[in-house]
């Protein structure tokens, strides 16, 4: 039980990250760390650059300067598809499930990283009545109580369900760092609670979370720390209760504390 005070290793480390679009600084010399097994929220007003950070960590945008390390491995210049092997997976603000595939098929694509050999790729698994891959995906669905949707086409499902399936898919790659872009956005209270349960279960399994979220109650109940961005710069960092008192934060992010 001394582990608690002992140093946790750093799962995600961002150092001196900068990015400009058409001459406008979107992210300016940003540094922060997410310790292993912890949950950190990236918060700030719209347009502060939160999603840009996600896009750089997952390799969708190249960085201008700075470094990104996942589990001690420098991934700054890795192609996106290799970053998931380094241990970082993400979800999307606008859910990006593949519309022409069923829920189960979407999850099977999510398993790719752990079944990437040529032999796995050419196995006619659909002919096997209850193939390990299918069982595993169904199991993951069942853990979130979504198994009833397995055969459905993703398009027809309610928004909240799709959102949670997106999360399940992100977990199936076996990455230990999950980046979730507004996971609770658009969910009703029941769904938000279910999501909170999902995330706490993930944390219990030792996963590390980086979350962009507007709902401060949700942030408060899931994340130990927050990093506040404004105009691409980090203006505060620490537990939410402390950060709320910060003058800069109140100016930049008016309205957050009023909702409470």
């Amino acid at each position: 039980m001394t582990a608690k005070s002992a140093q946790r290793s750093v799962a995600l480390s961002i150092t001196g990250l900068s990015k400009s679009f058409a001459g406008v600084r979107a992210i300016d010399n940003l540094s922060f760390e997410v310790p292993e097994g912890r949950a950190v929220a990236l918060i700030g007003p719209n347009g502060a650059g939160k999603t840009t950070v996600f896009n750089m960590v997952s390799g969708v945008y190249p960085v201008d300067c700075g470094t990104i390390a996942v589990n001690g491995v420098d991934v700054t210049h890795m192609p996106s598809r290799k970053r998931i092997a380094a241990g970082v997976a993400r979800s999307f603000q606008n859910i990006r499930l593949m519309a022409h595939l069923s829920v189960l098929d979407n999850l099977l694509v999510g398993q790719h990283r752990r079944n990437a050999s040529i032999a796995a790729m050419l196995t006619p698994y659909r002919l096997v009545p209850s193939h390990r891959w299918k069982r595993e995906a169904l199991q993951a669905l069942a853990e979130s109580g979504l198994e009833a949707y397995a055969k459905e086409n993703v398009g027809a499902l309610p928004y909240g369900v799709r959102k949670r399936i997106d999360l399940v898919r992100a977990t199936l790659a076996g990455a230990n760092v999950l980046m979730l872009d507004e996971p609770a956005a658009g969910l009703n209270p029941t769904e938000t609670n279910a999501l909170r349960g999902d995330l706490q279960a993930l944390k219990a399994r030792g996963l590390t979370l980086l979350v962009v979220e507007h709902d401060m109650h949700f942030v408060d109940s899931v994340c130990e720390n927050v990093v506040v961005l404004n105009f691409g710069q980090k203006i505060a960092e620490g537990p939410l209760s402390t950060v709320r008192q910060d003058r800069l934060v109140r100016e930049a992010y008016l309205g957050v504390e009023e909702e409470a």
Partner: protein, 242 residues
């Protein structure tokens, strides 16, 4: 129960929208009357932008009725008039600006309404003057700052003399100075508005009532005054009102 008087400019009745098999608006009904300034709040992806796109006919309703300015609108031809009378201010200013100079950009809408070149330019100049931006007329659009671009876009839609403004995150990524300027202008305008925004203070200052988009559905949100030390309007979106 605000604004029951006044003509209904825009009415949606049981509108459903599906895109690529995905339901993006779910049984949405809404009325916007003269003088209404309706705030639409809700999380990203809840369908707020789709709502504006459906009103302007950029997105076709799968079922339900879109009525605007007294007529049911179905075809692209029907929506042409709607788009002029209910002007849409883009989220991304660069999507709206493409002419070499500011003046030409602002004159583009009036030209499409059938004004001749001379009249359109006059209209553009007058609109820029109204916004106190006549000095920008000959500037190259691409070289403006983000805030200036947003205001030029606003000039572009105001020049069409719309009855309704559809504002999609109007203050997104603007600095404080331009937010202030934009707010002053918008609150001085005698026009109906639908304002999609995350920005509480903005909604507090502008909106007369509010709805919330959640899970592609509309639900009422109550707007009322609180005895804050700094008294202002603000939008309540608590679950208890659902």
């Amino acid at each position: 129960m605000s604004a029951t008087e006044g003509a209904a400019f825009i009415e949606l009745e049981n509108v459903y929208v599906e895109r690529a098999g995905v339901r993006v608006l779910d049984n949405v009904s809404l009325t916007l009357r003269a003088g209404d300034r309706l705030a639409v709040v809700g999380a990203n992806g809840a369908g707020k932008t789709t709502l504006l796109r459906t009103i302007t006919g950029l997105q076709k309703a799968t079922s339900g009725t879109v009525r605007a300015f007294g007529r049911v609108r179905r075809t692209q031809e029907d929506f042409r008039e709607v788009r002029i009378r209910a002007a849409y201010l883009f989220q991304d200013a660069d999507d709206q600006l493409f002419c070499p100079t500011v003046l030409e950009d602002v004159a583009f809408g009036p030209l499409n309404m059938g004004l001749n070149e001379q009249a359109a330019l006059e209209k553009a100049n007058a609109t820029l003057a109204f916004l106190g931006m006549e000095h920008l007329g000959e500037r190259i659009t691409r070289r403006l700052s983000g805030g200036e671009k947003r205001l030029v876009c606003l000039a572009g839609v105001l020049a069409m003399e719309p009855d309704v403004l559809l504002l999609d995150e109007p203050t997104n990524s603007l600095d404080a100075k331009h937010v202030e300027k934009l707010m002053t202008v918008l609150s001085s305008l005698d026009k109906s508005m639908i304002i999609v925004s995350h920005d509480r203070p903005i909604l507090d200052r502008l909106a007369t009532r509010a709805v919330r988009m959640k899970d592609c559905r509309l639900e009422p949100a109550v707007l009322h005054r609180h005895p804050h030390v700094h008294e202002h309007l603000h939008v309540h979106v608590g679950e208890d009102h659902a």
